[in-house]
Symmetry: C2
Subunit: 339 residues, 2 copies
């Protein structure tokens, strides 16, 4: 293979993303310059935040330009290195994008270019020990400040971040309740991820579900969803509650402005806090998180799950799996095994 | 006078409060039991939060019951004491309610019963050194965490709390912009309270006003208003901004559910925080606030203003002055001078 297959952004989305938003392109494999590294992508990461990168609006990263390769986190293998710290064959993490090959440089781009530590697989590097696990770790611990005995509620609980965030709170001694959709996800959360209780948002009122499963109210709400679920949670917060705003997937594909919660005054009445964060701000603290996450993985207290699609042609449709709720755990797509 | 005039809650309000929500009653002056103190109210405090006390819903204090004297903070004078710590003639602060006389006990009720420190007038005790000043002090400093050089935006800026909160931020070296309605309030904020800039919400778009007056975006938003003004402020927050939810006066008299902000995801993008508080939680830290507030008053850095109505018959209508925007600074009603 001496071409670089790419999916470039062709048209900004309105509502759900479909194949028409991207264009397939073939380019020559790029040549690394001095200090650069040529990487072949092995696994691509799919994250709800990618939907935001497709919009032409100010955010924590610039939008992907029309005609540019769609941005995505990735793990790859070094094909050719012109940087002293990298050698051919190294497994690396970078922002590879939706293409076979990428030119990467350390400390450049959202994820820079880093070697996978020994023993860390590509799947772990993109999931439980990567952006997803770090998002759960810092969001839950730094913003959520869970204390043993408290009640922690997680929305999008069967997703990559939510499932880890909930387990971290459980490890810290909290009673953890997850909100997810459908029997399979709820059973997995209860039986495998060991959540204390689960609310199926597809069955009845989430507010009633919270009232029932959180009799002592909610001390920490880790929110990946926003919208009606945030409103329901706000009605059941405890005094001094912490609402960690990780994402708002319910609104990402909306074609109209979505209503905000009408009960924000509960933050005053309950002296509670709502706070947003972006995991990229915590990259200088990764060394705090990874050993602790690894320890929990080794002890079996923390489990992780991935949904791994395959095939370059399936890249655009894989993104939608996040928004249609098809994935349990981390959504990945495998392009190739390491050589 | 040997009767105790009272305004009791007769009917829960729907929308703006009017005279029909209260009933005038005359009762005998109560007799203090052992450990109790009979206080004659001199000044009543009017606060937007009183509107919430009139509703039959869970909050940080139980609702005022139908047929009960309307709850209000007050300064009064001890008429008869059966408590060792109080003597006839003492000036005291308590939750006297809308009546001439009240039986008060230390450490009971929202405000307990405390003697005014020497040199503190009733007006100061209910305003700048009382709940209002303390709300501004702890809300701005503990939650707002203003740093010199930052931009601080205050809504309800000509009100009792907002005007003090803004001045505290200015004293701490911030650039302070106030939002208020009408020429008189805006001129007072600029010229007397020394705000750096002012936005008149009655003249044009608040969002455009914030963009213009806060070119470096908003680091701290001290919000007394909520609604559209909160939405506008959220569009202009800086990274790591702190939104202090002190109140939401725009919604207190609403007869329909008021829409929430549709742009809460800006808290994520800007890694920002929104936090509510109730000043009653800070009563054990009053000793931190009062000396610092007194120092600023003596140096002239901090000014205060009151709107003092008179007459027992005018009590119910005075509450509405807060909601129609008639008051500048602290709203009080004087029943009597100390004897």
């Amino acid at each position: 293979m001496n071409i670089n297959r790419q999916w470039v952004l062709a048209k900004r989305p309105f509502g759900m993303v479909d194949a028409g938003n991207f264009e397939y392109r073939e380019e020559p494999i790029p040549e690394p310059g001095d200090g650069e590294v040529l990487v072949r992508n092995l696994y691509l990461s799919f994250d709800p935040t990618q939907r935001g990168w497709m919009e032409d609006r100010e955010s924590y990263l610039p939008p992907v330009g029309i005609g540019e390769v769609m941005r995505a986190g990735s793990v790859g293998q070094v094909v050719e290195s012109r940087h002293a710290d990298f050698s051919s064959g190294d497994l690396v993490q970078t922002t590879g994008g939706w293409q076979d090959f990428v030119i990467a440089v350390p400390n450049q781009g959202p994820m820079g270019l880093t070697k996978l530590p020994p023993g860390v697989t590509p799947v772990m590097a993109l999931g439980i020990l990567g952006i997803t696990g770090l998002t759960a770790y810092f969001g839950m611990l730094d913003l959520g400040l869970p204390k043993a005995g408290e009640t922690v509620l997680v929305s999008g609980a069967a997703g990559a971040t939510g499932s880890v965030a909930g387990q971290i709170a459980r490890i810290k001694g909290c009673r953890v309740v997850g909100i997810a959709g459908g029997d399979e996800k709820c059973a997995w959360l209860r039986e495998v991820a060991q959540f204390d209780d689960v609310i199926d948002y597809k069955k009845g009122s989430v507010s009633a579900g919270i009232a029932e499963t959180c009799p002592d109210r909610v001390d920490v709400f880790f929110d990946n969803v926003g919208g009606d679920i945030l409103q329901a949670a706000l009605d059941h917060i405890n005094q001094k509650a912490r609402i960690v705003l990780c994402g708002g997937i319910s609104g990402y594909n909306a074609t109209e402005v979505q209503p905000g919660p009408t009960n924000l005054m509960n933050l005053v009445i309950m002296r509670a806090r709502m706070e947003g964060f972006i995991v990229l701000d915590y990259m200088n603290r990764v060394h705090e998180a990874v050993p602790e996450l690894l320890g929990w993985l080794q002890s079996g207290e923390l489990i992780h799950r991935e949904d791994i699609q395959e095939g370059f042609e399936n890249i655009p449709n894989t993104l939608n799996r996040l928004f249609t709720g098809q994935n349990i755990g981390k959504q990945l797509l495998k392009l190739s095994d390491p050589s």
